[in-house]
């Protein structure tokens, strides 16, 4: 086994004054490199402990998030109408399908404002959306989630939307196949 380290001298190495060096036969202390390695390991352990702490904090944050908004991600349009008085003008998410019935086909669009009817379980809600451009998939018969609030507690008050999110379904169909919509108010819309 090769012996390394400069604290060892062979017989052919003499001190500057020509005397052979004294040999210390007492058990050796760990070399500085050993303690250095141990220090590095301690430091790594500290870093890991800090990471662990951050992770626990992040987990706690996510759990609170999950218990809060995530479990009640949205109200269906009919639920939003039913809870109108409780909800007041606070911010929440409402889900429904962009209506396509002749009476509700009012998808007016200009640079500032989009007005449309949001339908779910036979209840339609007038929505006035003001915000940035809606997602590319925003269209009639498309299930969407609108972030916003009731304009007032009045029964005919519209829902003021500030963000449109597409609620995509789990079905995947090849392009050019006949598109069938299951929503009763958007029966069959050929693509």
């Amino acid at each position: 086994m090769a012996v390394s380290g400069d604290d060892r001298v062979g017989l052919d190495q003499l001190d500057a004054d020509g005397e052979p060096p004294e040999f210390d036969l007492t058990p050796r202390e760990p070399r500085p490199s050993d303690s250095g390695a141990r220090g590095g390991r301690n430091r790594r352990r500290w870093i890991a402990a800090v990471v662990l702490l951050v992770v626990v904090a992040a987990a706690a944050f996510l759990v609170t998030k999950a218990l809060g908004s995530a479990t009640d991600y949205f109200y269906q349009a009919d639920q939003a109408v039913a809870h109108r008085s409780d909800l007041g003008t606070q911010r929440f998410r409402v889900q429904g399908t962009v209506a396509n019935t002749p009476s509700a086909a009012k998808l007016t669009e200009n640079s500032q404002k989009i007005e449309f009817q949001l339908a779910a379980n036979g209840v339609t809600v007038p929505v006035i959306y003001t915000g940035s451009d809606p997602p590319a998939l925003f269209a009639r018969c498309e299930p969407v989630v609108i972030v916003g609030h009731w304009q007032s507690k009045a029964d005919d008050a519209p829902f003021i939307g500030t963000q449109i999110i597409i609620k995509h379904t789990e079905s995947y169909t090849a392009e050019h196949a006949d598109r069938m919509k299951s929503d009763p108010e958007c029966r069959v819309t050929p693509s």
Binding site: R8, F23, P30, A48, V51, S69, T169, Y172, A174, E175
Partner: protein
């Protein structure tokens, strides 16, 4: 220098004593699996990007499904293996199960990240947002954080004789989130869609789209087993480094002792 006491019996001293311990990071099995994974991934790329048609609604963004869903499934399996191995650690108290639990968790983290990344890339053009705090997304983020915490715990407890036990408990605890993630779209209202591929009942996908997805699922599983073998062997060898370092240190001291036994007679006689 002391060997790190992991509180576990080292593999050679247990039942698998006569089996040859890994001496490299790869085995014949891992090399074969590597080739299969590569071939299946190549086929998956061909089907996913060329042969399968664009989706009627989502157009080409739908192709992210072929990575997103398999990576989620592999992550579930990886964390499930961590949970199973953790139970075995508490029961059998062997180093092998402890290293399998740790290796599988690390791979699970990678696949969870791939799943989240592809989901966000898909979400921006389809939903309109990269991220939203619905139940599926929140519990998946939690899953990632829990297992990053598991790995951090292993590092923090390095050298602790009870590390395997504590980490096994943490691993089992973290894996509880796996079924919660899976069921989140049925338990709560979520923006995230429900299951597309069902083992029971009709899948919401078919033809070459389904076939592309299945290829990538098999490729993902092969890739997982391949990585698990390699990661386990690296972890096993890393544990051995401490042992060999201990042996080397003893050999070094012995050779010193022999040298110094020879040296003093000459040195002292000349000094006097």
């Amino acid at each position: 220098m002391t060997s790190i006491d992991t509180g576990l019996r080292a593999a050679p001293k247990t039942v698998d004593a006569p089996t040859p311990a890994p001496i490299g990071t790869g085995s014949r099995g891992s090399r074969i699996l590597g080739v299969i994974t590569l071939a299946l991934t190549g086929l998956g790329v061909l089907y996913g990007l060329v042969i399968s048609p664009p989706d009627a609604n989502q157009s080409n963004a739908a192709r992210l499904l072929y990575i997103h869903v398999p990576s989620a499934i592999v992550a579930y399996v990886a964390f499930g293996v961590t949970a199973f191995a953790s139970i075995m650690v508490l029961w059998k108290k062997t180093e092998t199960w402890d290293l399998i639990a740790a290796s599988s968790a690390e791979i699970g983290i990678v696949f969870t990240m791939v799943c989240l990344a592809t989901g966000m890339l898909w979400g921006r053009p389809i939903w309109g947002v990269f991220w939203t705090w619905d139940a599926r997304l929140t519990t998946t983020a939690l899953l990632l954080v829990l297992f990053v915490g598991y790995v951090a715990l292993r590092r923090a407890l390095a050298g602790n004789p009870n590390r395997a036990k504590w980490c096994a408990i943490a691993g089992i605890f973290a894996a509880i989130d796996v079924p919660i993630v899976h069921e989140s779209t049925t338990w709560w209202v979520t923006l995230h869609q429900g299951q597309t591929v069902r083992l029971l009942g009709e899948s919401q996908i078919g033809g070459t789209m389904l076939f592309s997805l299945l290829i990538m699922m098999v490729a993902g599983m092969c890739g997982y087993v391949w990585m698990l073998i390699i990661r386990f062997r690296v972890a096993f060898l890393a544990e051995r480094v401490d042992e060999t370092a201990f042996d080397a240190a003893i050999a070094e001291r012995r050779s010193e002792a022999e040298k110094s036994r020879a040296v003093p007679t000459i040195a002292t006689s000349e000094a006097q």
